[in-house]
């Protein structure tokens, strides 16, 4: 009976990793680290925000937005008699009047417009029960809360923030942030979504106070 043929296969042992497997990645790492002081590891520089003015059209991504005016009022009455009041005693409401046109091929949430608006933290306060600052968005035409805006349509709305009594400035340094379109996202269940991005424009805007 013939003895079974034994084939000896040479397999790499973890302790016997070849020299090339160590040196090449190490050289690559050194090259990356060497370029770091020159910006090798930094993302591309973000351009500074452009000046923000009233009546200026800004392309945020899903919407082109124009700020018409900024108002400070004691309260806002919605359709049906519901009233929006400030969160704190003697506070007021900060209203940012906007026109926002959906420039995409799909319905877009008007909340994206509200979320894009920023400003000094001292000028606003959370609504009762909220931890974060959130703008409420109401349509001017029918005084109802705005929802989705269909393609090609322009929403005329007020973005409403609660303003504490301690803030009484005549101008506000408002900012508008843009959105970038996320085609694929392996880490979430939201591919093809607009994601809030950097500030596109910032500037002092006058606040009209109405009693």
């Amino acid at each position: 009976m013939a003895l079974p043929l034994r084939v000896r296969r040479r397999r790499p042992h973890p302790a016997q990793v070849s020299r090339s497997r160590v040196l090449l990645p190490g050289l690559a790492l050194l090259a990356v680290l060497a370029t770091a002081p020159f910006g090798g590891l930094k993302t591309a520089a973000v351009p500074p925000p452009e000046p923000l003015g009233l009546g200026q059209d800004l392309d945020l991504g899903p919407f082109t937005v124009r700020v018409e005016q900024v108002l400070s009022v004691p309260s806002v009455e919605l359709a049906g008699g519901l009233e929006i009041e400030p969160a704190s005693a003697r506070g007021r409401l900060l209203l940012v009047e906007v026109r926002a046109r959906n420039t995409t091929d799909e319905p877009q949430s008007s909340l994206q417009v509200a979320k894009a608006i920023g400003g000094p933290r001292a000028a606003v306060e959370p609504w009762p029960g909220d931890q974060d600052i959130r703008g409420d968005i109401v349509g001017v035409a029918d005084a109802t809360r705005a929802g989705y805006v269909n393609p090609g349509l322009t929403l005329h709305a007020l973005v409403i923030f609660s303003q504490p009594a301690t803030w009484t400035a005549a101008t506000i340094d408002l900012s508008l942030s843009g959105y970038r379109f996320r085609e694929d996202d392996p880490f979430s269940l939201e591919p093809q979504a607009w994601v809030l991005d950097d500030v596109l424009a910032r500037g002092p805007l006058p606040v009209t106070v109405r009693t």
Binding site: D105, P107, D142, T144, N150, P151, G152, L153
Partner: protein, 177 residues
């Protein structure tokens, strides 16, 4: 006149199937019978919760009966001739949510710019665009039959209509016959 391109077969891949149905004819989906009873353009919606559109409302009155089991939350949408998608307004029926076997009148209101009316199509299915759409399911597509001249005529004749969602008893200005 509106007509129905109904219904895509349930096998994959999904393709449009049958020739155009006669206007106003009931379309038999596996899960519902649907009839487009009437159509108009509204300047605004009246009632306890009035609503004004950013463009004008395309108002579509449907007669729908769920078959076999309750029909849950299928949000319809309108496509223009370039396949842009327009969501229905919550001022009327936001989705088709119906009990089994009970004929219902459903009003859909879609806020559209004037350019979107000509060549518009109503798409009804059970799936959500945000999940997987209507993949592998039967879908009804109603070609609303609006030519550019027809759309302009409807646009110029727009008037206020009632905000209505769904129910067995339609509003007084029901567009169906």
């Amino acid at each position: 006149m509106p007509s129905a391109l109904c219904c895509r077969p349930t096998s994959w891949p999904v393709t449009p199937s049958s020739p155009r149905e006669a206007p106003g004819e009931t379309v038999a989906l596996p899960y519902a019978d649907v009839r487009l009873a009437g159509m108009a353009i509204a300047t605004d919606l009246t009632g306890p919760a009035p609503s004004k559109p950013d463009g004008r409302y395309l108002v579509l009155d449907l007669e729908v009966t769920a078959r076999g089991e309750p029909l849950r939350g299928a949000p319809p949408d309108v496509r223009d001739r370039d396949q842009r998608r327009y969501a229905v307004s919550p001022a009327c029926a936001g989705s088709l949510t119906l009990a089994t076997g009970i004929p219902s009148r459903v009003r859909l209101c879609v806020d559209l710019p004037q350019s979107a009316f000509a060549g518009a199509t109503l798409v009804l299915g059970r799936g959500s665009q945000d999940i997987e759409g209507n993949r592998r399911d039967a879908v009804a597509e109603f070609d609303l039959g609006l030519s550019p001249a027809g759309a302009t005529t409807l646009w110029d004749g727009a008037r206020p209509l009632s905000a209505f969602a769904a129910g067995a008893i339609p509003p007084r200005d029901w567009l169906g016959r």
